[in-house]
């Protein structure tokens, strides 16, 4: 029974199609995308640039409406943004005129919680990402990795049921990226918050995810779903395991074929 509960569907993407009407006619960004994301699942979406993975995330976030088809959170159709779905953007999107703590407490403030409570929540998550000493710094004083930590803390501070991450580590250098991956893994292993994570880095996808979704381009659709049966806890060492290597070769090959398709 408990096992069944863990496997309940958290996010359902049901036959989603998204068209953009531009100057040069209509572009189909997504077509017939159907996917069930389970409660507590960590799912990574990989695919070449322009395959619509960011569009899919925007639809899930409620920032874009699907042309047809619907997404559901716990069976409720998604229309518009909601604090139940937290988003971390690649460009950090911190409010530059606010300090670290003001950024992190933004969500709780929007819920009109008392200020003391907002501060307490913010401090908790700033501590989680290890930036206690930078509470009162402005974003311009932080490195890229620190900025993204703040953005992650800010998403967590709203206590979302689902985390949507749009290439969050894409702009970071390799070492910082590895460190943030490890931190995210640790947090997920503790909290098991359902996570929908977009990346173009196959290593990153395999390291983090329970399932990797490979998308094909133009129009964006799901090409294959690869279960990653490497047990947690994982860390950077996981990357040298034979199973990891095997999966990497397999997934990388498929993604590369899609990339070649896009180039045509």
């Amino acid at each position: 029974m408990a096992g069944e509960e863990r496997r309940s569907v958290k996010l359902r993407i049901d036959n989603v199609k998204k068209e953009y009407v531009g100057e040069h006619g209509t572009t189909i960004a997504l077509n017939g995308v159907t996917l069930d994301i389970m409660e507590n699942e960590f799912i990574c979406v990989v695919g070449p640039s322009g395959c619509g993975k960011s569009t899919l995330l925007n639809v899930l976030a409620g920032l874009h409406e699907a042309t047809s088809g619907t997404c559901y959170l716990d069976g409720e159709p998604i229309h518009g943004t909601d604090v139940k779905r937290g988003v971390v953007f690649q460009q950090y999107a911190l409010f530059p005129w606010q300090t670290v703590i003001q950024n992190v407490m933004f969500g709780p403030m929007m819920k009109r919680l008392p200020k003391e409570e907002c501060l307490a929540i913010a401090r908790k998550y700033i501590k989680m990402v290890g930036l206690e000493d930078f509470e009162n710094s402005f974003p311009k004083e932080l490195s890229g990795g620190m900025k993204q930590r703040v953005a992650i803390a800010r998403a967590y501070a709203n206590n979302p049921e689902v985390l949507l991450m749009d290439e969050p580590f894409g702009a970071l250098d390799a070492q910082t990226r590895a460190q943030l991956q490890s931190e995210l893994l640790k947090t997920w292993e503790e909290e098991k918050k359902t996570c929908f994570f977009i990346t173009h880095d196959v290593d990153e996808a395999i390291l983090l995810a329970q399932r990797v979704v490979i998308m094909s381009a133009r129009p964006g659709r799901i090409k294959r779903i690869v279960p990653i049966d490497i047990p947690y806890p994982r860390d950077q060492g996981t990357k040298s395991e034979p199973e990891f290597m095997r999966l990497k070769a397999e997934i990388w090959n498929e993604v590369y074929q899609e990339y070649l398709e896009v180039r045509k």
């Binding site: 920032l63 604090v83 937290g86 999107a93 606010q98 933004f106 929007m110």
Partner: protein
């Protein structure tokens, strides 16, 4: 080679001149140029040196003709009133232009059309409309500051990073929150730039604004002195205009530093 480079840097560092000293040097150099100009036969007629410009012209204008203070006050009132009207109209119009396409499509060409016409050209039209006195001057400054500030603020609003708005939305912000917590603070740097440009526009319009029918004012006085070829008091008034500009700019600098210290800036020396 490297060593000598370092040595060179080392010696350079010892004779680093602070900005304040540079400012003093610049000031002294200007005085020197002025002095040289005053020596010439023809240039001396236009640039009488300090003893004439300050020690003779100030008593003349301030005491004998009792005009200096009145001119200063009158001009400041015109600039302040015109600028204030320009500011309180430019901010909402800029937002309307950024939010509503028809407003932008109609108003932007107007501004681009009028902006390139010297204010002096249409100043008489304003006088014919509202009569002489401070009124036409204020209206003219209003028009010029409005156009400069409106375009600047509008450009700023359009430049706001949309990701910030998205981030605020997914964190639960409603439209009001977005306006007061994202759009407004993100616009502050542009509003300050607009104020800086607006004040400049206000001062440069002053001469045109007071050209027709003003009874007092720095601009009006410069015109009337030019009629009697009194270059020393004219020069005094011109210097006063310059000082007002510098002081206003300094005030904007201080406000800017207080309000937008969060901005990422290139560190220029």
């Amino acid at each position: 080679m490297k060593e000598s480079d370092e040595k060179l840097k080392g010696t350079k560092k010892k004779i680093t001149i602070s900005n304040k000293v540079w400012l003093l040097i610049s000031f002294l150099a200007a005085i020197l140029v002025w002095f040289l100009l005053s020596l010439g036969e023809s240039t001396g007629r236009s640039f009488p040196f300090i003893q004439h410009t300050f020690f003779e012209a100030i008593p003349l204008m301030a005491v004998e003709r009792n005009a200096l203070w009145g001119d200063f006050a009158s001009s400041m009132i015109c600039v302040a009133a015109g600028f204030a009207l320009g500011f309180i109209t430019a901010v909402p119009v800029a937002f309307l232009m950024a939010w509503y396409v028809p407003v932008r499509k109609i108003i932007e060409p107007w501004i681009n059309f009028i902006r390139n016409i010297p204010a002096l050209a249409y100043a008489p039209l304003i006088v014919i409309m509202v009569g002489v006195g401070k009124k036409p001057a204020i209206i003219l400054i209003w028009i010029c500051t409005f156009m400069t500030m409106c375009i600047t603020i509008y450009g700023g609003i359009r430049n706001i990073d949309n990701t910030l708005v998205k981030a605020a939305r997914v964190l639960g912000a409603n439209d009001m929150d977005i306006f007061f917590r994202i759009t407004l603070p993100a616009t502050v740097p542009f509003i300050i730039t607009a104020v800086r440009l607006g004040l400049g526009a206000g001062l440069t319009t002053l001469l045109a604004a007071e050209s027709t029918g003003a009874q007092a004012g720095l601009g009006m006085r410069i015109r009337s002195l030019s009629g009697s070829f009194e270059s020393a008091p004219m020069l005094l008034y011109i210097i006063i205009l310059g000082i007002i500009g510098l002081v206003l700019n300094k005030i904007v600098d201080i406000v800017e530093r207080r309000l937008t210290s969060w901005q990422e800036k290139r560190e220029d020396q």
